[in-house]
Symmetry: C2
């Protein structure tokens, strides 16, 4: 269809936003809109300027016959800090305290648009890490993992505690849950992660880090490497953690069950905010 | 910030796409861009025209002091039929057959952008149904459920087979799995679904319908109603199904384990394609 510039800008903006981390040849747009490549290039400059001004992302250009343009989602640091500060405030509600020292978080994890925003922070942080796949643990890591993977345009591998018969052969490992010191099993379908992948591990919660440590071992079983580790909330843990390099969005720094006092602060991803944005 | 029209179109398009089913006052845009409401109205007309021409969605207007504009995502029927036909073709690969007559589908469910497209079909179908929440069963229904819920801008309630101690009090019911005739338990955290909700049930697979039937009973336990039922794949089942009204994206119409022949066709959502789009 033949659009004027205004129509092309709307349609191309939609196309970029729904095709992140994917190289699009200029000819795709010039043919779709029956427009000269020079007009398309000007359109892209306008979109790129708005995206970069608002820190929604950037549009990279690769020259040559096989070249094209690629939309890379990012986040705005100030807006991200406000989002996380508001989340910390919400998490400090004493009503969230559950027996056993757990924190009710399903309202946060159950909000798909909030999850989209939170996942985009990790996707921005790891946008240059050549991530091939996102790995997470069923059930509560899944929503955040899909958001991160969607913004990076890579598949998700879901690790599970149970053995399910509906996914073919499995790779299983035993691991010791860090806080409870129990031996547990986790499994991943053989087909659900390609060998030699660079894997970003995403989970909702980390205390001692036993589950994450288990996923790291599982990645090795697939002859693959770790691109990074990101968790929504890390909890204070007075013994040494089993995982060293990870980033968190929020940190549960204090939880007193008697006085019902919960303190939640910004996570370690904000220790080097420069890398989050630039 | 003060933008020219082209800049506003890009930024507003992004804003609409990331805030579906949410009423936005015109003053939000006129203040953000320091522009007259008349200019903003013209911008919105351009965006609305492109969205409707491409069947990406529509922009509804509510008049009055508390009025505003609302983006409602839809799908294009022709593109949707191609997407589903291609998916059917992929699902017919004999390599997907697993022992016990199961079909490997994690590559489909594990693809976040495909999942976004599939979920949008249900969101378009049920866009006028006043859905308050999406309910699904862990683990494999979750990705599709989040996509549907994201496009409808409603929360997700995740039902589980296990009892987990980390979500407070649970509502549990027993149900009979339709194909295996086993009595099983499913649970949902009391806090994770508000009473008097209108609930859209989304799952990845349905054979006899026992799991869906269970979720319907669980909805009643929350004094709530069923807005609709959508499944990614329904399987042929020669006895009567336990669920009558549902829509499916694909239908596994034939599966012969000996000859390794699988036949997958368009699901029942295409029986009334008119309602999908208009």
């Amino acid at each position: 269809m033949k659009y004027r510039r205004s129509g092309r800008l709307v349609d191309m903006t939609n196309y970029f936003l729904t095709h992140p981390h994917q190289q699009i040849p200029l000819s795709y747009f010039s043919e779709s809109y029956d427009s000269a490549k020079s007009s398309i290039s000007e359109d892209i400059s306008i979109i790129k300027e708005v995206f970069e001004y608002n820190r929604l992302g950037t549009i990279g250009t690769t020259a040559g016959a096989s070249g094209g343009v690629t939309f890379i989602p990012t986040v705005d640091l100030t807006r991200t800090e406000s989002l996380i500060d508001e989340l910390c405030y919400r998490l400090e509600d004493p009503e969230r305290l559950l027996p056993g020292g757990y924190l009710y978080m399903m309202d946060v994890i159950g909000d798909p648009l909030l999850t989209q925003d939170l996942g985009r922070i990790f996707a921005s942080k790891f946008r240059k890490s050549k991530v091939d796949a996102v790995m997470t643990m069923a059930t509560k890591g899944i929503p955040l993992a899909y958001s991160v993977a969607g913004h990076l345009n890579v598949p998700v591998s879901i690790v599970r505690h149970e053995h399910r018969i509906t996914e073919g052969s499995l790779v299983s490992i035993n691991y010791v849950s860090g806080s409870q010191k129990r031996i547990q099993t986790m499994s991943l379908a053989r087909r659900s992660l390609a060998p030699n992948s660079n894997v970003l591990i995403i989970d909702d919660f980390m205390k001692a880090g036993g589950t994450i440590r288990g996923m790291m071992d599982l990645v090795k079983e697939f002859q693959s490497t770790i691109a990074g580790i990101g968790v929504l909330t890390e909890a204070v843990h007075h013994e040494e953690k089993l995982v060293n390099e990870y980033v968190s969005l929020t940190k549960l720094s204090e939880m007193d069950i008697k006085s019902k006092k919960i303190k939640v602060v910004r996570g370690s991803i904000f220790d080097n905010p420069f890398y989050l944005q630039d």
